[in-house]
């Protein structure tokens, strides 16, 4: 079983503070946490810090060991981080893009093992038809799926996905969550998924971490973390949470409150 503990994490760029004292406590036992917040709230920065790709103060401990003290190779095997940007549109074939991701992390794998792992990941994401197309022949959404395949091919126990569904239509969005659920369940791992779609997060995540201006605004089960008040505080919108017929909470935005930076930057 994987346990990730995030406590009092702060970091900044120069004099600008980006994250300030963020604590998510212990995340374990197949939990899928949605990281929400307006643009510039610090979602990507938090995921990068957990992935060991940025310096920070505070504690990020994975299975009893600080992430900052883990070797790059071990961290790369255990932690799968999907960046926000899409894989580059190069003439790399999708299959070999995934193979290279696996080989870069697991040089100990034989080519047979790698092929088996890649086959499985293309099946699990249902993207076999993309396998022999070059990345510059794929749409943005298809490249995002290949990027996800690169991350999950090594079967990491911690998944950190930065807006993994930003370029995908509804069918593929559901497919991504299904795959994440399955991997996290099989490996008893944990997943933190940065999202802009509040309803998608409330529907598919066990917990929500709502960030605003680098601070944790709310944290807990979707129905508790997301309220009209937290929507107002974090996003600057006049909104409410209602339960649909299946008892799933949905966020409804009625309008923008106030003026200023937050109101101007939000759609």
């Amino acid at each position: 079983m994987t346990t990730l503990c995030v406590s009092d994490v702060s970091l900044g760029y120069g004099h600008r503070s980006v994250l300030s004292g963020v604590s998510l406590g212990d995340i374990s036992d197949g939990a899928v946490i949605g990281v929400l917040g307006p643009n510039g709230a610090g979602k990507s920065t938090l995921l990068r810090a957990i992935a060991g790709l940025g310096s920070y103060t505070g504690g990020i401990v994975l299975d009893g060991r600080p992430v900052s003290q883990m070797s790059v190779a071990r961290r790369a095997r255990q932690v799968g981080y999907l960046p926000q940007d899409l894989p580059q549109a190069t003439s790399l074939v999708a299959y070999e893009a995934v193979v290279s991701a696996c080989r870069a992390v697991r040089p100990d794998y034989s080519m047979q093992d790698v092929n088996a792992a890649v086959e499985q990941v293309f099946d699990s994401l249902d993207i076999r038809d993309l396998a022999f197309r070059t990345l510059n022949q794929l749409s943005g959404g298809q490249r995002q799926l290949v990027g996800l395949a690169q991350v999950i091919v090594k079967r990491p126990t911690v998944l950190l996905l930065d807006e993994p569904t930003s370029s995908l239509d509804l069918r593929w969005q559901l497919g991504v969550f299904k795959t994440v659920r399955r991997i996290v369940g099989e490996l008893s791992g944990v997943a933190l998924i940065a999202l802009h779609d509040i309803n998608l997060a409330m529907r598919h995540c066990d917990g929500i971490a709502l960030l605003s201006d680098g601070r944790l605004q709310a944290h807990g089960p979707p129905s508790k973390a997301m309220t009209g008040e937290t929507l107002r505080q974090a996003y600057g919108i006049d909104g409410r949470i209602e339960l649909c017929s299946q008892g799933v909470p949905i966020a409804i935005a009625d309008g923008v409150v106030g003026t200023g930076r937050r109101a101007a930057t939000e759609p």
Binding site: A51, L53, V72, A73, R75, A76, R77, G80, Y81, L82, P83, D85, L86, P87, Q88, T90, S91, L92, V93, Y95, E96, A97, V99, S100, A101, R103, A104, V105, R106, P107, Y109, S110, D113, V114, N115, A116, A117, V118, E119, Q120, F122, D123, R128, A131, F132, T134, L135, Q137, G147, Q150, V151, K154, R155
Partner: protein
């Protein structure tokens, strides 16, 4: 139980044909193209040896290469002491520049990158110009034949060292490295022009000839040095093929897979500087090969670096080998510098290849 074992225990894929089989076919096709290119390079060597004022047939050359004892003394000198070193020099220099260009384009994520982009060629020119104009063989106590190559080598390596120091000081992003490189190109061009301005007519002639680039001054000793360097660099390159392939998906992705991107870039640029420096130190400036060789390899082999890197080296070797043949044929009796021929003949061919690729539907 390892993760790999767990994968094998998972349910099989939906399709009956495993992707690995399709991929194997894909890889075999590329391998065949790689072999075909290697054969083309080998044929170009034979044609290069055949070409020249003293007419030698294909069979004469093949027999002379396989059984040197059957050759007359004159033929032996022509093949083994004059034409073969010239042909092999073109091959190893072209391979060095092709490999250097490919690695540079990968780590700088820039298809316009080549050994001349970062000013390595111009730094070598500056070193060579200084050696020629100030006759540095006496103060440095170095052999006269080697003073120009040694100074060119020092200049080339120093340029990469300078870029590394500056870019590390200001943060080693790709853009920083490229920008420093471009700034260095202009600075070095100005310095070379200044040296040319103060040079006497003999020195000026030598500098101009050096900047045109030629493999005509080939000897087996130089070939061994360049070939040895190429072999060592190729071994180290092949050890990093998966990291470089992963890097083509994007720097952020590669970093998330555990690829030490900054260190990889540093190591590769140092290797590129050594490859370029050794190659141009003995030949002068040959700029086109390091840019176009990798493009041809990318069109033929894609960006799996298991094929792309050897493919770029072979493409570079083929271009320079072809150029050295053309340099003997264009004006009979006159050896036109290879640096001129590669650009004159290679660029139209490259553009034709590029345009035909664009017209091809996906």
């Amino acid at each position: 139980m390892t993760s790999a074992t767990q994968h094998r225990m998972l349910p099989p894929g939906k399709s009956d044909v495993p992707l690995a089989i399709g991929y194997r076919r894909f890889v075999h096709r590329r391998f065949i193209w790689l072999v075909a290119l290697a054969v083309a390079v080998a044929v170009s060597i034979i044609v290069n040896v055949m070409t020249g004022p003293a007419g030698l047939s294909f069979s004469d050359v093949v027999q002379g290469l396989l059984r040197p004892s059957v050759l007359t003394p004159a033929e032996h000198v022509i093949i083994w002491d004059i034409r073969l070193p010239y042909a092999v020099m073109a091959l190893v220099v072209g391979a060095c520049l092709g490999l250097a260009g490919a690695e540079m384009q990968t780590v700088l994520n820039n298809p316009l990158a080549s050994p001349s982009t970062l000013g390595v060629m111009y730094a070598a020119t500056l070193g060579a110009s200084l050696a020629i104009v100030f006759d540095l063989s006496v103060p440095l106590s170095l052999p006269e034949n080697y003073i120009v190559p040694i100074c060119a080598f020092i200049g080339a390596v120093a340029s990469i060292g300078l870029i590394q120091i500056l870019s590390r000081f200001y943060g080693a992003t790709v853009d920083t490295v490229v920008l420093f490189g471009i700034a260095l190109v202009f600075a070095l061009q100005a310095l070379v022009s200044l040296i040319q301005f103060v040079a006497d007519s003999d020195s000026l002639q030598q500098i101009v000839f050096w900047t045109m680039g030629s493999v005509a001054r080939a000897t087996w000793e130089k070939i061994a040095l360049i070939g040895g360097t190429l072999g060592v660099c190729l071994v180290f390159s092949l050890r990093q093929i998966w990291m470089m392939t992963a890097l083509r998906g994007g720097e952020n992705y590669a970093a998330s897979f555990g690829v030490p991107v900054k260190r990889l870039r540093l190591v590769v640029l140092l290797r590129v500087s050594v490859l370029t420096a050794v190659a141009v130190a003995f030949t002068g400036v040959i700029g086109f090969v390091g840019l176009v060789g990798p493009h041809i390899a990318r069109l033929a082999f894609g960006e799996d670096h298991r094929f792309y890197l050897p493919g770029s080296a072979l493409a570079g070797a083929f271009i320079l080998s072809g150029a050295s043949i053309a340099s003997k044929l264009l004006v009979p009796g006159i050896l036109i510098p290879d640096g001129i021929v590669t650009a004159l003949i290679g660029i139209p061919l490259f553009l034709a290849l590029l345009l035909s690729q664009r017209r091809r539907p996906h």
